[in-house]
């Protein structure tokens, strides 16, 4: 059969061979054996027929065994498996990092079956690929500083962690330029305190006076600046796609399942527990997770033991799907996950006379930031809108007025060369904004006994993804944090209404 097939496919030598074949088979048929050489046309028909035959087999099998989706021929390759130990909802950088660390930490080969569900394989709206790609150590909370340090350590040795056999080494295109924060008089004391905390935890940061600033960055207008802090090492920016892809490629090579589908619902069991003051709390446990396949209305339930909610801006919605908050208890509102999308614009500007190679990732006390992009005089810049002026989040359209009114004036004040810039492009992305305290929420959901949260990063999730993935995997597999203690990021703080805020200067 295979020889016969080969002949069919071989082009030029075909006719001569066919003749000898016909002669042969004729002789065979004389001997009473079956004539299978049926000439050119019939052969073509046979191939065409094959598909029809397969279809018939499939139908027969379906009729014989109703209720299973087994098929002798695999129909769709991206269908999720029926069962997984751990389902990660959301295949952004956080989701894939968690999946990688779960596999990395498993004790026996194929010890845990991990599935990553991602609704949009093109990542057209995922924050990861729309971010500015920056990493800094200049935070005020020790947890955030530690996460950054651990992540940068991971990135430094990324090829030892994420390199896959027979693939090119990973190039993050890391640009080692520090963040330069500028403080006005009213916030300089915060900057000094933060500096002390940062140094304490091993971040390489230095403080600069306006005179030193002027000397190092002659293009900078230091009016109104009384103090600046500048990252010396382990800060900069990199390509978010490379990091996401590296995590994904490695995790898949380690046996993580992935599927393209949207999580649309959960099947849960409920149990009741009494609280200290006598209230009855209903605790849910997820049994099945419903995955809706793209271009189809079908749902595929996936049985799972643990769910990790890493759906970025959608993680609030995912938690809501379970129906927490729709109860009679009065304190319900406190249980909903305070993560929602907030639109942020990034503008690409061109300015041939702008700051050169030494250009840092500058963050002014007005909130405006900019950084260099490549070597050709391009920069990206933006600003965070006021809380009261948050833009509409129904789409990712860019508001160019915002640049004229809220970005450019501050930018050209700080760097006079930018007075003659030209906007060459722009995009918008969603922050996975934690409305409660703008910090990550990591840990078990208090009302869903098997859902872990890794969300709410509000603008610094990309840089923390390697360390966060490790922390979540420790929480799931070891039952507690081992390397960095992130218990401050637990959901509990929201229940107790105790925000942990970054002491920012902007």
């Amino acid at each position: 059969m295979s020889r016969w097939h080969k002949m069919l496919l071989s082009g030029p030598g075909y006719s001569a061979l066919a003749i000898s074949r016909v002669v042969h088979s004729w002789r065979f048929s004389l001997n009473g054996s079956r004539n299978f050489s049926t000439g050119k046309r019939a052969r073509k028909d046979f191939i065409q027929d094959l598909e029809g035959q397969f279809k018939a087999i499939r139908e027969k099998a379906a009729a014989a065994m109703p209720g299973t989706d087994w098929s002798p021929v695999e129909l769709r390759r991206d269908l999720p498996p029926d069962r997984a130990d751990i389902v990660v909802v959301g295949g952004g950088v956080i989701g894939w990092s968690v999946a990688y660390w779960l596999k990395k930490k498993e004790r026996v080969r194929d010890g845990v079956r991990v599935l990553v569900v991602e609704k949009d394989p093109t990542y057209s709206e995922a924050s990861t690929v729309l971010s500015a790609g920056g990493i800094r150590q200049q935070f005020s909370l020790k947890e955030n500083i530690q996460l950054s340090l651990a992540s940068v350590d991971f990135m430094r040795n990324i090829n030892e962690h994420l390199w896959v056999l027979n693939e090119d080494p990973i190039d993050l295109q890391f640009n080692h330029s520090g963040y330069l924060f500028l403080a006005s008089e009213s916030v300089a004391h915060i900057m000094e305190e933060n500096y002390v905390t940062q140094r304490e935890h091993g971040a390489k940061v230095t403080l600069l006076s306006p005179a030193q600033l002027k000397e190092r960055f002659p293009w900078l207008n230091t009016d109104g600046v009384v103090l600046a802090s500048y990252g010396l090492e382990n800060e900069g920016w990199f390509d978010p796609w490379s990091l996401l892809n590296a995590f994904r490629r490695k995790a898949m090579s380690m046996g993580v399942f992935h599927c393209h589908g949207e999580v649309t619902g959960f099947t849960c069991t409920t149990s009741s527990r009494e609280t200290e003051d006598g209230d009855v709390l209903r605790i849910k446990r997820i049994k099945y997770i419903d995955v809706k396949m793209p271009d189809s209305r079908e749902y595929q339930p996936v049985e799972c033991a643990i769910v990790i909610n890493a759906a970025g801006v959608n993680s609030g919605k995912i938690a809501d799907m379970i129906g927490i908050g729709s109860g009679s208890e009065h304190s319900m509102a406190g249980f909903s996950l305070p993560v929602e999308p907030r639109k942020r614009y990034v503008y690409v500007v061109h300015c041939p006379d702008g700051p050169g190679l030494e250009s840092p990732f500058l963050i002014d006390y007005s909130g405006v930031y900019f950084r260099r992009e490549g070597l050709g005089g391009n920069y990206i810049t933006g600003n965070s809108p006021e809380e009261t002026e948050e833009p509409d989040i129904s789409d990712l359209k860019v508001d160019h007025e915002f640049f004229q009114e809220k970005v450019w004036p501050h930018l050209s004040h700080r760097v006079p060369a930018f007075e003659s810039l030209k906007v060459t492009g722009a995009w918008a992305g969603f922050y996975d904004y934690n409305t409660f305290d703008q910090n990550a929420i990591i840990g078990l959901h208090p009302r869903i006994s098997n859902m872990f949260l890794a969300t709410g990063f509000s603008g610094h999730g990309l840089q923390h993804s390697p360390a966060v993935g490790c922390a979540v995997a420790e929480l799931v597999l070891d039952g507690g944090f081992r390397t960095i203690d992130l218990s401050a990021f637990d959901f509990k703080r929201i229940l107790q209404q105790e925000p942990i805020l970054e002491r920012n200067i902007v």
């Binding site: 890391f174 080692h176 330029s177 190092r216 010396l232 900069g236 190679l357 070597l375």
Partner: protein, 244 residues
């Protein structure tokens, strides 16, 4: 052969692991030596251990190992001498190894020419010598890119910088101009100005040339007057470099 796929894979993994362990061990932190003999001796020992050479501040003689990697331990007698010049060209130093010499606040000149493990992260750590380093040679390091060269802005005292033959930098002469702008007091040696402009129309061609250059340099370039220090054990690493 395809039945042996996993064996080959495991073998491959092992060889990679051994290779990286070798680099790691070479660059291990000499904490014990530092405690016992002080940071200066530890730094000196580390440099010799890697196959490099150095010069103490108050001496004019360079100290280096002989062709078999042996060296005299005279430097043990001068625990207070700090190092002023270090030549670590064509050694296995990487960013971890820097930990052993960051204590040398008087370091004035450093050469890591042709080091296969010197990368952008290495350059980003050099800010610790910001107050002393005047001469730096990072030429022929295949892993360096522009992303790391920008970190040299912290070396405010730098007067001479060699960035020639960096295969990881795609437009060398543009980068050279930008580096000169970034470090106005520093003389930058590197690609000739016209090289980058030729590069625009025949990028592939030129890249190939520079590549060939780096491929052959480990065996043929030695600083004039110094004896070849490329111990046989090093060649494995350079082979790796050629294959990569």
């Amino acid at each position: 052969m395809n039945q042996r796929f996993y064996d080959v894979e495991v073998f491959w993994r092992w060889s990679r692991w051994l290779k990286s362990r070798r680099v790691q061990r070479k660059n291990a932190y000499f904490g014990f030596t530092q405690k016992k003999f002080g940071v200066n001796i530890a730094a000196a020992y580390y440099v010799l251990h890697l196959g490099g050479s150095f010069r103490f501040t108050d001496q004019s003689e360079w100290v280096h190992a002989n062709s078999r990697g042996k060296f005299s331990y005279n430097f043990l007698n001068t625990p207070d001498s700090t190092i002023e010049e270090v030549d670590l060209s064509r050694t296995l130093i990487n960013h971890n190894g820097l930990d052993n010499i960051v204590s040398q606040k008087t370091l004035r000149s450093l050469s890591v020419q042709g080091c296969p493990n010197v990368d952008d992260w290495f350059l980003a750590r050099l800010h610790v010598f910001g107050e002393s380093l005047q001469e730096l040679d990072v030429s022929h390091c295949p892993r360096i890119t522009v992303g790391g060269l920008v970190a040299l802005q912290h070396l405010r005292k730098l007067r001479r910088l060699d960035v020639s033959s960096l295969v990881g930098v795609s437009s060398p002469s543009l980068v050279r101009i930008l580096l000169e702008e970034m470090l106005p007091l520093c003389e930058v040696t590197g690609a000739e100005y016209d090289q980058g402009f030729v590069q625009h129309d025949s990028m592939g061609q030129l890249k190939e040339d520079t590549w060939l250059e780096t491929r052959s340099f480990p065996v043929c370039i030695y600083p004039a007057g110094s004896e070849p220090r490329l111990a046989p054990s090093h060649s494995g690493e350079f082979l790796f470099l050629q294959a990569a």
